[in-house]
Symmetry: C4
Subunit: 288 residues, 4 copies
């Protein structure tokens, strides 16, 4: 369908493999990357379990280096195959990719017995690798649109939760006092959020009759508040359902399931039409 | 209404009784089976209460054998009355029926003092008998359709919950540390799911001020997240309500309440039209 | 508007006062009754607080007798003013009225030191007086209609919750065992309902890693399940909103706020049209 | 657009700055006020943490006086720039402004060692300053309309929660008794609200088998009840979404984001049309 005026060089071929999922090589690359991301998160988790870490520390450590090196190669490949590397480096995924690669190198440089604790924290930054999976979820756009459309209502709701929590938290601090676990207002506000959101840990609980009466009011109020975000999102979904019934179904078929993963190798723009030959943002030819 | 070219034999008559609920005999069979399923689940439960098991062990044991033998007869009857037995045996209900019948026989063969504990686990497989009741709930189709229609959104939601839990779990592990119950990342992730879903057991709870502040953010976030699946299902229900208002009411009248329980005795296909004389899947005559 | 062929006798006048709220006397009767119901519930509650009961036992006891006698008079008046008393006596409100009047008399007959505990239970039946308030809430009809319209879906949902709880409860009993608080299957099923409904008391909580992993699955599942009843009710409300937008507003104006409280004194039928002169159920003249 | 017949005096200029946010000075005033409100709430919170209060008591005390004096000046300015001061003083915001300014002065007058505890409570009234922020949230009107439109349904729902709690609370008091934490009926009702709203602190939890069975019923019931307020709000949002799709979008653009903050300096009426030159309530010229 697309006309090629010249032979694509290795950079363009690599760009196709790394950034897109139309070709077989591109699909295999994505699946392999996904497996390594999940493996790297499993490594971080296993390392935190002291009994496993004591027993298999060396295996976990080498596995971590293998993944770090592979991620480094992937990061460098992504930078060199894009025409405008700085745009990628400072994009959302660029920063995520960098942050999930760097910790092991930092731990190498900052080695020393006294820095062990802070190193551990740096290493845990690797957990952000999980956000790389977001790359594979173009289908979340509708969800994002719903959230954006109802952002004013959501802010009003958040404001309501916070104000209610501060006022009721202060009242409960006065009623229950330090002897019943409400040691200060911030802690009392924290307890109030725990109650309003119906989480209810129970580490702090009202002991006096008056405190339990006020708590009952807070809970029934919280019950009403829970209805607000749900109502907002439901209404947004119903609205968007009515609006573009057929359009959406077409999108689900062609896009979210059989991902149209065309990404411009010049400006990294995505969301190209299925039949597009040129980038809608910069005019770069999309197919090789 | 239906024309019979020959006399039905005993297998076909038995098939009508076991698989369908149109005739009086079929209805009685279904009700008796339902009673035995509930009785068998009650037996498993009573057996697990040590005070009751010590006192009435023999009665529970013989009752269990009576039910096992009845289920065995039912299973054999189902297999021989169907024309293509293998299709039934490897169907969802075929496997459930087999799994809920077998444990007692296995415990007979694998008898021995050292195997008691694992035997007990096998016996508890009988609890899957409860799924047999699903046979009587054709009305759940609309629910299933709603879930299938919104499967992409549900996956995005599940992905959001899991990613949030892993990231916040790791942060809480760093902030609270092992001395406050967040002994490792998997446990911290578990705590995070407990909090995000607003369950809030309280067996682990943040103790530091920073931990409680982060928890507040997690809870308010969880509050917003709870809106997503509800919004999805609400929108689906509203959509389907608008679509086929009258169709649905007709279905409720004729189908879910007064179940059209025709099942083809050749290929086990169900969902036949009320006026159908022949199976829509294989052409087998439905009525005798 | 209505033509009276003869003078109403005292029974008919009393019926108008007790059963309806159109006249001034009827409205005053209703408000006084409401106050006594709330007072009687407050008495039951105060009596249960041992410090208050010890101090004011006599006042509470005499107050209780005053209310019992007033309720007895009301009950007798209701019976004699209706033409078909048995229909009232065995109606929902008739049984509630009887149950909320009788306990004090029973405690008089069954007096004795050994029967004290069971007497106390009988006395607490007086709490059912609260249901008398339901009489004043004709506005709940729309809610009731929504629930009836979606009864099949609600049953499917309840079935799903119970089956999930039994299966997961049994699995958790096997995984966690008696040493971690899951002492038998019924208790484990109870814990599972506590978790699925996101209540999460925390009196029982999983201790093993596998148990916590299964609990995570149960909670995310419960999160999805919570969407179902909400979706059902939302869809019903949206449907009924669309259907009779104007009709409803008219009902709210004329009915739920300024209650049309006509009740036939022959057959106790309610829900008469505002302009009705004769009972829609038995033809009895409504106005005097 | 607006024609000015005379030069505005300083009072009118100040009114423009304090009550409106159209001019640059007005916007700066609002932002500065917002910062001071948040700072004053932070002060109240920090003061309640004993370790911080012991260390920085003087700084917190002087900071509190600075804010009190600034709020006093603001309050006086608001009173003198409005033509009908009494209307402002007894309005919602007038009372809030007064209550958030007064506590420090009262603590000055009522000084004395024996009055320390009650003084502290008075000081905490300053927390109501947070409600001042509500001034900036005109966007909550739609939310308010939804709540008003469904007030009858919400009352029915609240009545349902309270009645269920009282009945089930009494039953649980009888079943579990004082030895399992259900020491009296009010406490038992409190526990019932904790359970019905799915908060589930776990400070009180059923111990007997029968108690746990009844609790299971309460929780599943509570699960259904949670659907009611959500369904109500969802339906209201969907209704209002359908009604004035375009109107709303226009409002969001012009109003909630770029707040039309015209307030009449004669009668304090707000919600003027964007093109209005005169107050819709009293005819006062709006622009200077």
């Amino acid at each position: 369908m697309s006309s090629n005026d010249r032979h694509p060089n290795w950079k363009e071929k690599l760009h196709e493999v790394i950034y897109e999922a139309d070709t077989l090589a591109g699909k295999i690359f994505d699946i392999v990357l996904l497996i390594f991301i999940i493996a790297s998160i499993a490594l971080v988790m296993l390392e935190s379990i002291s009994t496993i870490d004591n027993k298999y520390h060396d295996i976990l450590y080498y596995g971590e280096w293998v993944i770090t090196i592979l991620f480094s190669i992937e990061y460098i490949a992504r930078v060199i195959t894009v025409r405008k590397p700085w745009k990628y480096i400072f994009s959302f995924y660029g920063i995520i990719d960098f942050l999930s690669t760097i910790p092991m190198y930092v731990s190498f440089v900052l080695v020393g017995s006294q820095a062990l604790l802070s190193l551990r924290a740096l290493r845990l930054l690797r957990i952000f690798r999980i956000l790389k999976i977001a790359r594979y979820l173009g289908a979340s756009n509708q969800l994002k649109d719903s959230l954006i459309a109802s952002r004013v209502k959501i802010l009003v709701f958040l404001f309501g939760v916070i104000v209610s929590s501060i006022i009721f938290g202060t009242i409960m601090y006065l009623v229950e006092g330090e002897e019943n676990g409400f040691t200060n207002i911030p802690k009392s506000v924290y307890w109030c959020i725990v109650t309003l959101t119906t989480v209810g840990f129970g580490d702090i609980a009202p002991q006096t009759a008056l405190g339990q009466f006020i708590t009952s009011i807070i809970m029934i109020l919280g019950y009403g508040i829970i209805a607000v975000p749900t109502g907002i999102v439901s209404a947004e979904y119903v609205k968007s359902s009515n609006k573009d019934e057929k359009l959406k179904e077409a999108i689900v078929d062609s896009k979210s399931l059989d991902l149209n993963s065309q990404v411009c190798r010049n400006c990294n723009a995505s969301d190209h039409k299925d039949t597009a030959d040129y980038c809608h943002a910069c005019g770069q030819k999309l197919h090789l």
